[in-house]
Symmetry: C2
Subunit: 550 residues, 2 copies
């Protein structure tokens, strides 16, 4: 990897960085230019086995100060690494992909600029978190909800959108539900996409494409600019919402279930994103277990027996149905027709039933109540996400191999990087067919086994035709051997998937150099665009730019 | 407009063009290199008052020959203007935005490369027409339907997608339902977007974004490359489909109806694109009338009396509901709750009822039967479009001011450019609120009046929050005075809309120079990207590039 940030004079204690730091300090004040080792260690905290640390961190709080920061960087040729809140767990957190970069931490830019309750959108800055927007919508009684991811209330919405992340609702394909980006370019100029560059445009927040070449896609998963604002579409709270769960007893039965799901997505019955977790993923999301059995990988027999003990199916599916009472009933009937079958258990759960179950488990005692309480808590977490109430419940998987388990604050105030969790995520996309799901699984299961890790896997219906897998490699970060094995396991998984044609929908800093393999032509073109927009490579060198490493 | 094709040596009978033509003739054979005046007149036929003619036309039939064509153009610096089938009626047809360009007619590239019935997609070339794909899906009994526009069976799907056109179904936002573009760039290299550049990618046709910067948007409404193939998503035929129609008696009642529609879109009840046409648009879509009353603009009183005679409401809405029987019933109830009200007449029409009505009108006689027959024919055309059967029925509006009316072949074999129709379309986007709809209308109605033209207007719910208007300026192309007034009217409409902030979602060659007004920053950036991808300006100079004209 010859061409790093260092080569362009950004790293080290060299002159350019010192000069730039002085200019930034004058611009932002010393409180918002951080270069002390303790602070950099905090920014450099990662769930990965290792990652490059930033050489400084800046905390501008307006678009104009971001533009000024960028101009200074350009003048001194010091590369910048923008993060929204820096919680890109499992993919590198706030860490840049190459050494010598200066973090631009946008978490102080946390204004909710506008909420339009009629047209159901919000305009937000990168520092706005899921919890903050959810709280605002509730407090102002807008009758609106947002799509949430399972990463908890403290993560940035913009950061996730720019990684083209997925949530849980009908707006779970998040990039498809944003409208109008404001971007600071490498020369400090500001670009507004869609109709936003027309000074008096009426439809700037309701029609994303504008007129002419549509540029939004360029600023996702890229290093072409710093997004400082965007419009995000919101949903009216449904009159009625109902969850459904489907347990798939045996692994082989995953195939017909996936095929049935595809039909339900294609015919429009299911619009929210359905998640299917395997047994170990479900176990790992039970915080009470802490770091327990996670310490030793299980044999197949032990895993089966654990499944039996815990009454966990090979795969568990959850999704939601919304609409009027009649619409939900009609959808429920369609789901039942498609998903009921041998080896599958289907359960529908209205808010009312869920409340009764919560009440009942509070009264009950004994082991059976414990299991039930667990189920009810999971259902509540799924319901919360679907109603736009972010919860950290599902982050417990990130703590699966941490010796201390989840913190006492669970499910609040989680931060796997700060808490020294060992965690890597890998997220290949597969066609939504039963056959592809089984092929995918046979591709990765032996790799997990060979390296002594539990496969924690979810499959999500990220659109009508594709499943997005999220594969967790959870390891004990305090154990150098385990850490080394985890790194090997991740690489072996990546290799096996890439060779089989299952490419990921996003990548962490650990994988940027690998994106160019098996590829023809694409990255040369993104590089030409990069050169046109950022000729000096000021913004996030190496980010989604594999040729930087070749 | 100093910088035209001529300036770069493409136009005229100069040496570079002659040399390029010789090379193209060697490549494609003389039958596919057209430069005779009669042929160029055919390619230059336009519904606009005037447009630049091409200096030659080439008809390559494979991606590789397109690449070779482009390389020759680059060598001789002759600009190319790619068209799929060239039927961009109302927006310039096949005509380039500046003189001196050579058409690359892709209509011979009409292969349906692949259809996957399980994952419900097709891979097609630019010459594939709506009618061709619909016929193929029917013939092969795939159980799939495609989204159709109202432009008839003979128009290109790719061409419309690249203009980000809108159809009628749940996949009517067409750009949102394509996956994987193959593009020949200005240097002759081939780019595949999404996961398509990974040689063995499994999800190339089911997940559009791939990984890294998403480039698809760049190749819509642009001049950055020549798209030679794309994947288009298809829908399973619904178990049940039902149309609904809502007549809005008085203009003022449009506002509450639009607000009600927004609710139905936001809550997911309506997923197909709902179209609302005004009285004159509806009248103009009655082919039997031919060029009749169209000749003289109507006074308000005469218009009201025509409405009464014809039993036409101020605005007429049509849409469709699909799903299982129970789902359609539930949706129907929700639509009724939201749309029924004073001054509105709501009608639901199943395929069965429509057939009975068709049968009945065939038996009936008299004037009343004539009106009923008209209604039934319109309903059938709407039903056909919604079921993926393209019809030319709604093209009759393009023939509204043509002296001879529609051709005898109606609704088949229509070509408004060939048939010398006078037609310009203008398509501003507005927020989906009743207030904005009325404001938009008061902005344009006086302009039509002042220039003596009928306002033919449709408003379509192009997503959950925006209405796409299509405004027709129909004129008598044989009358120079009418033609001049039409040109003035179009310009005045554009000016009024731009000043009011209602920007169009697409533009014709007549408007490319106007896109830069009221705008800050955007077109400088698209220009930088253009220079990176096509430094010599070989592909479609001026297309969605207003700075070319400044």
């Amino acid at each position: 990897m010859p061409m790093h940030g260092d080569d362009r004079g950004g790293a080290g204690q060299g002159g350019p960085l010192r000069a730039a730091l002085a200019a930034w300090t004058e611009l932002l004040g010393p409180a918002h230019v951080l270069a002390e080792p303790a602070m950099l260690a905090r920014y450099g905290a990662t769930t990965l086995p290792a990652a490059d640390r930033p050489v400084a961190a800046l905390r501008p709080d307006t678009r104009d100060s971001v533009a000024a920061v960028v101009r200074i960087a350009g003048k001194h040729k010091v590369p910048l690494y923008p993060v929204s809140t820096g919680r890109n767990w499992g993919y590198g957190d706030a860490c840049p992909p190459t050494p010598g970069q200066v973090i631009v931490d946008l978490s102080r830019m946390n204004r909710i600029v506008e909420v339009d309750p009629r047209l159901a959108y919000a305009v937000i800055e990168p520092g706005v978190t899921q919890g903050q927007l959810a709280g605002f919508l509730e407090e102002k009684r807008t009758g609106l909800r947002l799509d949430c991811t399972g990463a908890g209330p403290d993560v940035s919405i913009v950061g996730n959108v720019l990684e083209r992340g997925f949530g849980h609702t009908a707006y779970g394909n998040r990039f498809q539900h944003v409208c109008g980006l404001e971007i600071v370019l490498a020369d400090g100029n500001v670009l507004r996409t869609g109709f936003g560059h027309y000074e008096n445009a009426r439809a700037a927040r309701v029609f994303p494409y504008g007129i002419g070449p549509a540029l939004d896609g360029l600023f996702t998963q890229s290093n072409f600019g710093i997004v400082t604002q965007l419009g995000v579409w919101l949903m009216p709270k449904p009159r009625r919402s109902e969850l459904f769960f489907c347990q798939i007893r045996d692994h082989a039965d995953l195939a017909p279930a996936v095929d049935a799901l595809r039909g339900l997505r294609l015919d429009g019955t299911l619009r929210s994103i359905v998640h299917i977790g395997n047994d170990m993923r479900l176990l790992s999301s039970r915080p009470a277990r802490g770091g327990g059995e996670g310490q030793v990988p299980l044999t197949i027999a032990a895993r089966q027996s654990l499944r039996n003990d815990e009454r966990i199916a090979a795969w568990s599916m959850s999704g939601s149905l919304t609409g009027s009472g009649a619409q939900v009933r009609a959808a429920r009937a369609a789901v039942r027709r498609a998903l009921a079958g041998p080896g599958r258990r289907l359960l529908f759960l209205s808010e009312r039933k869920l409340r009764i179950a919560e009440f009942a488990t509070r009264l009950m005692g004994g082991a059976r109540a414990g299991r039930l309480r667990q189920l009810v808590a999971t259902a509540r977490a799924v319901a919360d996400l679907n109603m736009g109430r972010p919860t950290g419940y599902f982050l417990s998987g990130a703590y699966w191999r941490r010796r201390e388990g989840v913190p006492d604050s669970f499910p609040a105030d989680l931060d796997p990087a700060r808490d020294r969790c060992g965690l890597m995520w890998l997220s290949p996309v597969l066609p939504m067919t039963g056959k592809a799901a089984l092929e995918f699984h046979s591709c990765i299961e032996p790799v997990y086994q060979a390296h002594g890790f539990h496969p924690l896997i979810t499959l999500s219906t990220i659109n009508e035709r594709a499943l997005g897998a999220v594969m967790t490699v959870a390891y004990d970060k305090e154990d150098p051997g385990d850490t080394e094995r985890a790194r090997d396991c991740y690489r072996a998984l990546w290799d096996a998937l890439a060779a089989a044609g299952f490419m990921p929908y996003r990548a962490g800093v650990q994988s940027m150099a690998d994106l160019g393999r098996y590829s023809t032509g694409y990255w040369q073109i993104t590089r030409r665009i990069k050169s046109a927009l950022d000729p000096d490579g000021i913004i996030a060198p190496g980010r989604y730019d594999p040729l930087q490493f070749s």
